[in-house]
């Protein structure tokens, strides 16, 4: 009886919270197909907001700009984050380790406004001194990478910590040079984490408004900046259309990624089983 009650309560609570979490997404998908600007009553099905989306040059340009920025940010963050994770996991004693660890982790907790403002002050100072860089693509990438690096580091770090160093030692005993060890042994083992780090920093960059608002120059607007501008002015179903496309992409991506991860995990489990069987036979 008690158990039955608890299960029912659990079911109800889970349903309510999931409804809360998915209501805005559902809302945007539904009203992106509405035939009028109204967003409380569904007046009829139409593709007009999707057509408006394709014609909106600001959104289209913002999309390509954001895609470029997010891709470069993702790559830079994954690479630098992997380096930083290596430093924190493998090198325990070097000059300034405490400072380093503080600097890597700080962007995780620092308000984005502070990151944006301080980087803006640096960029303006440099620009006044040497006339470069113009505020825009490059400065936004640098800002996003600061944030992305920190998140990428956390992801790679957790994978590196559970990494079995005996594998590297074995490779070295067999005569592999340090770089060979890294590329042939270590990298394949942490590749999944690096991909996850890339995806995470890509997403963060693609979604960021605050840092971009501080670091972009006149006429340079990322997709979130364009949307932010529209959003402050009022309701615009074109944005719902953009959101629906994004939701579709992300859902597909997440499903594909989790299938890949699950298959990888199954493969690893099978390998482990085979290994166990092999040891038993021998």
């Amino acid at each position: 009886m008690q158990r039955f009650f608890q299960q029912k309560l659990g079911l109800v609570w889970l349903t309510i919270i999931f409804l809360f979490l998915y209501l805005p997404l559902l809302f945007m998908v539904v009203f992106s197909f509405n035939s009028t600007r109204q967003d409380a009553v569904f007046t009829g099905f139409s593709w007009r907001w999707y057509e408006a989306l394709g014609r909106d040059t600001k959104i289209v340009e913002g999309f390509w700009l954001s895609l470029q920025i997010a891709t470069v940010t993702g790559v830079l963050s994954a690479v630098l984050g992997t380096f930083a994770a290596f430093v924190l996991v493998r090198y325990h004693r070097f000059w300034g380790r405490a400072v380093f660890s503080g600097m890597v982790n700080a962007p995780l907790v620092m308000p984005e406004v502070v990151i944006g403002l301080s980087l803006l002050l640096l960029m303006v100072g440099v620009q006044n001194a040497v006339g470069w860089p113009e505020r825009g693509l490059l400065t936004i990438i640098l800002g996003h990478t600061l944030l992305g690096l920190a998140y990428a580091m956390v992801v790679v770090q957790s994978r590196l910590m559970e990494f079995d160093r005996a594998l590297e030692e074995a490779a070295m005993d067999l005569g592999a040079r340090p770089l060979q060890v890294f590329f042939l042994v270590t990298l394949p083992q942490i590749a999944q984490a690096i991909v996850a780090a890339f995806l995470l920093s890509f997403t963060l960059s693609f979604d960021d408004v605050v840092i971009s608002e501080f670091l972009s120059g006149p006429g340079v607007n990322t997709l979130p900046q364009v949307i932010f501008g529209y959003a402050r002015r009022g309701i615009n179903p074109t944005i719902y259309a953009a959101a629906s496309l994004l939701i579709a992409t992300v859902s597909l991506g997440v499903v594909a990624y989790s299938v890949w991860v699950a298959r990888d995990a199954r493969k690893r489990a099978r390998d482990a089983q085979i290994n166990r069987a092999a040891t038993r036979v021998s």
């Binding site: 608890q6 995780l108 640096l122 998140y151």
Partner: protein
């Protein structure tokens, strides 16, 4: 053995220098240096339009002039009003207030949620967690924006309330504390749920059986066993919500009215509307205190168990592999 190891170390030395130097240099240039510039500008006078701030070094008098004015003006109103009655102090207190309320709301909604996920069948847990994470991967900005339509005077919620006959006139929710708290709770709920889940799923169920054997009702066992044991998760979740919420910039801009100004927006206005760089910098520096103080308390609470704060939803972007194997 040690000799061979030392030899290896020496062979690896150039690589080691590169591996440390690259991220170290990057962060020094793009994190530490900007921070010191921010600190510097927060201590100087406001300048003209062309040079937004004056140098610290007064070359005419040949002295260093540290200006505390920018910090003092945060607390001291210009036209002789009472101390602490400034827009800045108001914005600070409001930011802390909203962040605390968001934390409490996330805890109230998120704790049972995390609890029931942790008690669900192990086979469906990864799917449930993935469903918690999925909205996180879609745009934060767009999800906040959707609430603007949902909570509007003619929005879905008001239509529903009027249809149910609960109200005749639309209730204003948008641009009030209601929309602010709904938006913030919505965005930060996963940050609370994931650390709580990670904690609750590890709970040894035999302890609950023991409590039951000793005569505790399930309700009592929950409050006396489950909740105290999940304290670490509660504190971690609260921190993960409070810290980003206190510096929130987008949600007050979209869902808040003029009277819901938070400190992030004040820094922006000071910088770009008033063009007062030194005061914007001083405000930004003092914003860091909003994060550092709770963090310091948190680490003291943890003792010296060094656990990175980022153990939250972002630290584990894909929870699905857990439990799959």
């Amino acid at each position: 053995m040690t000799n061979a190891y030392r030899l290896l170390e020496r062979r690896l030395a150039p690589g080691r220098r590169f591996v440390i130097g690259l991220p170290f240099g990057w962060l020094t240039v793009f994190f530490l240096l900007p921070f010191f510039i921010l600190l510097y500008i927060s201590f100087v006078d406001m300048g003209s339009d062309i040079h937004p701030f004056k140098p610290l070094w007064d070359s005419q008098a040949g002295v260093l002039r540290l200006k505390y004015e920018n910090y003092l003006s945060i607390f001291r109103p210009t036209e002789g009003g009472a101390l602490f009655q400034t827009v800045y102090v108001d914005a600070y207190l409001r930011s802390i207030g909203y962040a605390l309320c968001t934390g409490v709301l996330c805890l109230v909604l998120g704790y049972p949620f995390a609890y029931f996920i942790a008690r669900a069948k192990p086979s469906i847990r990864p799917a449930l967690l993935m469903m918690v994470m999925l909205p996180f991967w879609t745009s934060f900005l767009l999800r906040v924006y959707a609430w603007k339509g949902i909570l509007a005077d003619q929005g879905v919620v008001n239509q529903l309330l009027m249809w149910l006959g609960l109200t005749r006139e639309p209730v204003q929710m948008l641009y009030t504390s209601v929309s602010m708290l709904v938006g913030m709770t919505y965005v930060y709920l996963p940050f609370m749920v994931l650390p709580l889940y990670a904690n609750l799923v590890k709970l040894d169920l035999r302890l609950l059986e023991a409590a039951k054997d000793l005569g505790a009702t399930p309700w009592k066992a929950f409050w006396l066993v489950t909740v105290p044991l999940s304290k670490a998760g509660i504190v971690a979740g609260f921190m993960l919500v409070f810290i980003p919420a206190v510096g929130e910039f987008v949600i007050p801009s979209l869902l808040g009215g003029p009277e819901n100004l938070m400190v992030g927006r004040v820094v922006w206005d000071e910088m770009f509307s008033s063009n007062n760089w030194p005061r914007a910098s001083a405000l930004a520096v003092s914003m860091i205190a909003l994060v550092v103080v709770p963090l310091a308390l948190y680490y003291r609470h943890l003792g010296n168990a060094a656990q990175p704060i980022a153990d939250g939803p972002v630290a584990d972007p894909d929870p699905s592999p857990k439990g799959v194997t």
